[in-house]
Every structure is written in C-alpha cells, then in structure tokens.
Amino acid sequence: MGQSPWRLALRRLRRDRIALAFGALFVVLALLALAAPLWADVAGRGPNATNETGTIDVGGEQVDVVSLDGVPIGPQWRGEYFLGADANGRDVMVRLLYGARNSLLIGIAAALLTTLLATLVGLLAGFYGRWVDAVARSALDVIWAFPVVLLGVALGTALALGGLTVGPIDLAAGSIAISIAVIAVVYVPYMARPIRGEVLALRERDFVAAARAQGASATRTMAGELLPNLAPTIVVLAPLMVANAILLEAALSFLGVGVVPPDPSWGNMIDAGVERLVTAPHLAIAPGLMLVLSVLALNVFGDGVRDALDRRGGAAWEAERP
C-alpha cells in the first residue's frame, strides 16, 4: 500500500533526463563544497589567508598578486589563484568553495527547518481547526505581511548584534545559525499554507473517518494517515524551498546581514565584487555563476520531481517573492 504511486513517480523521474542531469549537477556542486579543504591544499592557502604584498610567477615573471593601485590579479587557471585573487590577495577559488559550504549549508538547513515547522503548523492547524487554526493562521498572516527581504534584514541585523538565547537554543552573534533561523522563519507561511489547505481536504476523506472510528488517537491519525498523504506535496516543495533559501541567504549576505566577513559566502563575495566590477570583474562573476547554477539545478530538478509526482498547478508559488 502506498508503494506503487512512489514507484511510478520514480520511474517517471528516471526517464526525465534533464531533471536528473540538473539534480546530478547540484550533487556535484555539493561535493565540490565538501572537497574545499582539498583544493585549499592544492592552492596552498586557506579561504581567509590574505596575501596583499606577495608575488607569483606568471610565465617566468614575478607579478604582484595585488598591484600597487589595489587591482587583484585575474584567473591563472592553475592550482594557485585558479580564479584569481581578491582585493586582499585571497584565493578566489578557495573562497568560492568554502563559500559554497556556507551558502549550501544555510540553504539546506533553513529549508529543512522550514519544512519541519510548516508541516507541523499545517498539520495541527488543518487537523484541529477552530482556535488552533485561528492562532496558526494569524501567526502566518503576520509573517506573510512582512516584505520577505525586509523581515530577513531586520531580523538578521537585530540578531547579528546580540545573538539570541531561547531555552536550549543558543544563536551566538555572528554565527550562521542566525541566518538559518531567520530564513527558515521567513518562508514558513509559503509552505504551511498549501499544507494546511491539503490537510483540510484530507480530513474529510473516508479513510481518516475510518481511522478515527477504529479509535486511532489524534497523533496517530496525523502521523499515520495524514502525513503519508502530505508527503508528495512536501517532496515537491522541498527542493524549491532549498533554492529559495539559497537565494535569500545570498541576498541577506549581499545586504551585509548574512555570513560575517571574512568568512566567505557567495552573497558577501558578490557584495565585495560588485564594488570592483570595473577593475576585477571575476570577483563578482564567479560567485554569481555558482549561485545561479546551484539554484537553477534545484529548480529544474524540482520541476522534474513535480512532473513525476503529477502535481501540476496548485502550488503556484515556486518563484521567490523578492
């Protein structure tokens, strides 16, 4: 029971070569991020190691890594300074890979947290109805009423200064846990609303009434009857959630409230690079392309998953509302 629709979806997904290729692309990007220390060995310097006065050998000549008027060297296409240096003489390729760790980790962790919270809120609100639903919906409405980026920036700025300690949760100032929490909370309504709607519809179905009639407890009904039927929706929304979380993380870092420099993330690398587009365009282009590739990979793969699970329409929200 419940097996065959999944198997069917899997078979459909396996035939969707484009979706699979882009899914694989994301996996490759994630593996590259994991392999960052290996590349740092090849390049001979860590992500935050500066080298403002050093020189390197280019075709037998010694060239300044950062010229006297502050222009960093461009891509060398070899181990050291593969993608060139930044204004402090740091290795852009190494920072790109370490930045991938931060960007992808924050994106994936935030999306997981959003999924968890949204499923919980959607299930409880939809199942219990009445005042539980009213409270949940008001809370979602309030978050929804904030412009996404503005709320993210406000929370990020406030938390970045002082951190936050609520019971066992300790968000230290300047840690990436802050970005994860902020992004997760901001996106909860976008996922909780469709889930709640689906629970409302499922609740009236015969199999739920049957489970209740057999004496299944509320928890058991939610976990055993409703959750398995919500799974396709969750599976469809999750990759898109990761894509949006990665984009929002980059936007927050770009506005200066995400990953704290000198630690790299694609967003703060773009932020630093935009100021130097004229003299050193590689600084903004490289992290931007990585960002676009990873988000595009997730979006195309997510699209394939949705096709495979036959969930066209309904979830008309896949784009980030900027």
Binding site: I18, S138, D141, V142, W144, A145, F146, P147, V148, V149, L150, V153, A154, L155, T157, A158, L159, L161, G162, G163, L164, A243, L247, A250, A251, F254, L255, G256, V257, I270, V274, L277, V278, P281, A284, I285, G288, L291, V292, V295, L296, N299, V300, D303, R312, G313, A316, E318, A319, E320, R321, P322
Partner: protein, 317 residues
C-alpha cells in the same frame, strides 16, 4: 456577507497591529541595541548617553515608547534617530521612484509573461516549449542583485548603452527618466516573467481542456478567436489577481535589492539603509507602509473572491 467583510477588516487591523509590535520589539529587546549609546557617537561619556536617553525618552517603559513611536509614525511626525530627518518626508521622496520602478517592471513582466506563456502552451511538449520552460526556470533562478550589477556594469559602464544606475526625476527630464528606468525595470521583471510565463502556460493548458472551449470550437469560431476571446480571457483571471498582489509586494519593499543595486533611492533602499543603522522610526514606518499594502491587497482579493464565490465565505467563517 457583511459579517465576512467585517471579520476580514478586523483581521487586517489585528495583523497590522501585530506587525508593528513585532517590528518594534525586534529592535528594542535585542542586547547591545541601545539606541542612545549608538547615537552618542564614538567613546561617549555616561552623562551624554543619559542626556540622549532622557531627551528621546528611551528611559521610559517599552509600551510607552511603543505608543509614542506609533503616534509619531502614524501622525507623520517620526524623526530618524540618525539623520534627524522627518520619516514621512523621506518616504514621500522615495515613493515616486519606487512606484516608477514597480509600474514599469509590472507592465514588462505581464506582457512578456503572457506572450511567452501563450507561446509555450501552443507549442506544449515540443522543443520550443521545453526551451521556454527552461528559460523561465533560469529567470526565476537569477538573483536580482547580481543580475542588476552585471547588466549595469556591462550594458551601462562598459558598452555605454544605458546609464550606470541612478534616477532622474520625471519633472526634470522625462526622456532621461525613462532611459534611467529601462535597466532596473527589466532586471526586476526577469524574475517575475519566469514565474508568470509558467503560470500562464499551465492555466492556458488547463482552460483548453474545458467544455466551453470545445463548444466555442464546435460552433465554428476561428482558432484565433477561440484562443483570445475564450481561452486567454479565462486563464488570465487568477494571473491578474496575482499581478495585483505582486505589484503591491514590490512597492512594499520587494524592490529593495533592485533599488540598492541601481541606486534608485526609493522606499526600499531607504528601508535597507535604515535597518543597517538600527534606525527604528524609519524601519517601523516603512515596514508598516509595506505591510499595509500587502494586507490591504490580500484582504481585497479575499473579499472579491468571497463576493464571487459564496462557498468561500461559508467555509472561512
């Protein structure tokens, strides 16, 4: 129906109140967030900080501070902690810029969204449809701030086709005004075009399967007429609704990144800069202004739908 509308309006007020309290709290309960010590500048004496605290009323209980701040914000009397400028004047100065950007972008994304979506639906399943779908996904995947910076650098700075950011008031030079808006509007529209073309495509495909379309064909209408008068018209209803909501969201702060990258100096950029300085009055004012737009438009849509579909107002109660 009256009860439904009254309930919705009540809910709207409650949500706006909660938004204002939450925004106020975000900036006032955080550690190290004491505005007085930040306003006093570098290495202030304790007496200076105390003086500022008393002058601005930061020593009063939070609820009192909240009420006073809200009174100032709603009465247009709020003053920025740092620039000492009137917040309402600043918002009114930025509003035409944000509106110009939002209107231009909205027209672009709707026009291209419909055109590309329709094209995709007509060629459904073929190579051109797949390419369009891919292009739409690519558009949705482009970070606005990066795209904006790259476009403004290459098209603006390198090739000199467009101005390199900035804004020229309409009254000063209408042509230059439009010229300066082309790139920002296009940048902001790319993301939405990707989203809307996919929405239009799937709605058109759904509508094509409806009985009334078959009827229209059966009575001998030309394919073109079936498409424009029956299919497109019906599939655009939800799209237009969403268009209104998205336009509101863009005005309400959705253009922060675009404005910052192109230095439009609109409401969004004002908010972003104020947040960075923990400048509570402007942030509170802009957030409320934005939330107001979003909540009012959402409520309007809910009420309109309830008017059209009685099931909603029964179910929602």
């Amino acid at each position: 129906m009256t009860r439904f509308v009254a309930g919705r309006l009540g809910q709207m007020v409650v949500v706006l109140f909660a938004v204002s309290v939450l925004t106020f709290l975000i900036f006032n309960v955080i550690p190290n967030g004491d505005p007085a010590s930040r306003m006093a500048g570098k290495s202030p004496t304790e007496t200076q900080v105390e003086a500022i605290r008393a002058e601005w009323g930061f020593d009063e209980p939070l609820p009192v501070q909240y009420l006073r701040t809200m009174e100032q914000v709603l009465g247009g009397q709020a003053i920025s902690y740092f620039t000492q400028l009137n917040v309402r004047d600043e918002i009114l100065r930025g509003l035409p810029r944000t509106l110009a950007l939002a209107v231009g972008a909205a027209i672009l994304w709707m026009a291209f969204g419909i055109a590309l979506g329709l094209l995709g639906a007509l060629r459904a399943g073929r190579l051109s449809d797949r390419l369009l779908t891919f292009a739409a996904l690519a558009g949705v995947s482009l970070p606005v701030f990066w795209l904006g910076a790259i476009l403004s650098h290459f098209l603006g700075y390198e090739w000199g086709l467009f101005p390199n950011g900035g804004y020229v008031p309409f009254a000063e030079d209408p042509l230059d005004w439009a010229y300066h808006l082309v790139l920002p509007c296009a940048t902001l529209a790319v993301l939405f075009t990707g989203f809307y073309s996919r929405l239009v495509r799937s709605n058109v495909l759904d509508t094509m399967g409806e009985d009334f379309v078959r009827t229209a064909r059966a009575k001998g209408l030309s394919e073109r007429r079936v498409l424009l008068a029956h299919v497109l018209r019906n599939s655009l209803i939800p799209v237009v609704t969403l268009w209104g909501l998205d336009f509101g969201a863009v005005v309400a702060g959705g253009a922060i990144l675009t404005e910052t990258v192109f230095d439009i100096q609109g409401v969004g950029q004002y908010a972003a800069e104020s947040v960075g300085q923990l400048d509570v009055p402007p942030v509170l004012a802009v957030t409320l202004f934005g939330a107001f737009f979003i909540v009012v438009l959402n409520t309007a849509v809910d009420i309109a739908y309830a008017l059209l579909d009685p099931r909603i107002r029964v179910g929602e109660r």
